[in-house]
Amino acid sequence: MIVARNLVKTFPMPAGPVRALRGVSLSIDAAEYLAIRGPSGCGKSTLLHILGCVDPPSSGSLSFDGRAVESLSDVERSLVRLRSIGFVFQRFFLLPMLTAAENIEVPQAEAGLAREQRRRRTAELLEYVGLSHRAEHRPSQLSGGEAQRVAVARALANRPRLLLADEPTGELDRATGDQIATLLDRVHADGTALVVVTHDGAIAERAQRTLMMRDGVVTAETRLERET
């Protein structure tokens, strides 16, 4: 589904350019569960954003479903993100003026779904993340774990083929983090490819493959062989 070759990302800084990625190559298959680990500042989030078509690489190539991402316009890349990729952030980033249900409806509305379809899909997703009873609550009225579950539901709203999660349990306590990890397992089991950037070893252990990064390069790759 995703093929990245020799990705380099350089950020211009007043003190001189900083190379966040120094030639990362990887491929992600459909319905794969990949974890990316490494110390802070090693380029994990930068890689995730490039894989999610949010940020262009300084050099190297990226293709999504066979399409070269660098050749796409802003609108086309936005459409790829809207329809094929879901994002879950460490700090949830729910829209504070909208209810949980409305937050889940936002990407659907943007994708042009009719109101009735949106309502049906939102109810289905709230049920999926176990928050039907919180549909009309605003983010400020939700706990951290509930807000992250709403964020997962929002990321799944347009049935993406790839879900990217950046430290999804970083703001949560252990028990709540486990609930989110279990929810992500379920998302993966239902056929969505998952890339999780995490410091949390417990989450990484759930992935089929783990990339270890340091100083902008992948230093190790481990595969978990599951019994089928």
């Binding site: 950020f11 949010v54 936005s78 990729i85 952030f89 504070p96 943007e110």
Partner: protein, 401 residues
């Protein structure tokens, strides 16, 4: 997309009611001033034209370009008026003389001075009767008083007053002549404190002993249907090239270039400043709002909202703020215009029936267009901020922050 962006912008405004209120009421205040400046820019011109047209005569003949009573007068006015009245382009021509007159107020024994207009009997009457009766053709000594003069004299229709009239400056005043008050009238060029009256020419000239040799201030002419005011003016210029005939339109244009130009300039300067304030207010509010929502905007971009889509959100916020404020500005501006009009009309020599602030549909259209322009220009900088927002760096800063 427009509908979604509009609804989204509305919700973004509603989430910060304080900010939205500041924007809306700020624009309402600024818009009210802008609306008033637009009414002022042409108010006197429109009002003056209405005043001239309302009198019923569409051409005025004077001896020079000076204002009535301040320049040379028309000599041999009787023959001149007769000659002009005989032109096929002219339906009616009347001689107008404005003379000084006094009356001894019987109760206080004070002498009250006023301006007496002597006018030839005519079908058209440049006044409006408020009480009593109009002058009849045969009422040689009838007189119409304006309400302030009638009050000062404690005179009512049917009363007789003794008027001393002075037609010629160096001639000794004659004994007062008795005039019968036919009615109370409103004269179009009176200001709110002016004391004035009107009577037929032969009565006034008889009272001052001047006869027809007294020069006239002006000849008012009604053009004949089918020829128009321009036709009448051209015909008068042909037979009497030394005169200064002018249509109402020409008089208005002359005033527009001379006396009224100050108001237009003031209006232009103040309109520009008010628009600048409106622009700054909305730009600052939207920029602050964008800066407060950077994380949220970056999130929406990551979720698949395009740059154009989020810029549209800012644009519609600007339109909603300016649009709502602009609508509120109309009644506010109307009330403010009434108040300012009363203040300005208190100036001396401003006819009571003239207005500085006059509504025209054109003002509404220009007001709307200027506010739309303000909304667009005010949104440019915050839209640029949104469009240029780096998604990854912003999300990272939000997490680190």
């Amino acid at each position: 997309m427009i509908g979604r962006a509009f609804v989204f912008a509305g919700r973004n405004l509603l989430r910060q009611p304080g900010r939205a209120s500041v924007g809306i009421f700020g624009i309402a205040a600024v818009g009210a001033l802008l609306f008033d400046m637009l009414l002022l820019s042409r108010g006197l011109v429109v009002s003056f034209r209405d005043l001239l047209d309302g009198i019923g005569f569409d051409v005025r003949v004077v001896a020079s370009d000076a204002a009535p009573r301040s320049g040379p007068r028309l000599s041999d006015a009787e023959n001149l008026t007769r000659q002009i009245a005989g032109l096929p382009q002219v339906d009616e021509a009347v001689t107008v003389r404005m003379v000084d007159a006094t009356v001894d107020e019987p109760r206080s024994h004070w002498t009250i001075g006023f301006e007496l207009t002597a006018i030839d009997p005519a079908r058209r009457r440049p006044w409006t009767i408020m009480a009593g009766a109009d002058l009849s053709i045969d009422s040689g000594q009838g007189i119409l008083l304006n309400a302030r003069l009638a009050d000062a004299l404690h005179a009512r229709p049917g009363d007789s007053i003794k008027v001393r009239v002075s037609c010629i400056a160096d001639r000794a005043a004659l004994a007062p002549a008795t005039f019968r008050v036919a009615g109370i009238a409103e004269f179009p060029f009176d200001d709110e404190r002016w004391l004035s009256a009107a009577a037929w020419t032969h009565g006034v000239l008889g009272a001052c002993g001047g006869g027809s040799s007294v020069p006239a201030d002006m000849i008012m002419i009604a053009s004949r249907e089918g020829y128009g005011a321009d036709g009448a003016v051209a015909a008068i210029r042909r037979i009497r090239p030394g005169l200064r005939p002018a249509t109402n339109e020409e008089i208005v244009a002359r005033m527009q270039q001379q006396g009224f130009t100050y108001f237009r300039q003031i209006s232009t300067v103040l309109s520009t400043i008010t628009m600048l304030f409106g622009f700054l207010l909305i730009t600052v509010l939207l920029t602050v709002s964008v800066n407060q929502r950077l994380g949220e905007i970056a999130t929406l971009r990551a979720l698949g909202f395009s740059r154009a889509r989020l810029a549209a959100d800012i644009f519609w916020q600007s339109v909603l703020l300016v649009g709502t404020g602009g609508v509120l500005a109309l009644p506010l501006g109307y009330l403010l215009a009434q108040w300012l009009d009363r203040i300005l009309k208190a100036m001396p020599q401003i006819p009571a029936s003239m207005h500085f602030f006059v509504f025209e549909p054109r003002a509404l259209v220009v007001h709307g267009a200027l506010l739309v322009m303000t909304a667009i220009v005010a949104a440019v900088y915050p839209m640029r901020l949104v469009s240029a927002l780096p998604i990854s760096a912003t999300l990272r800063n939000e997490v680190v922050g």
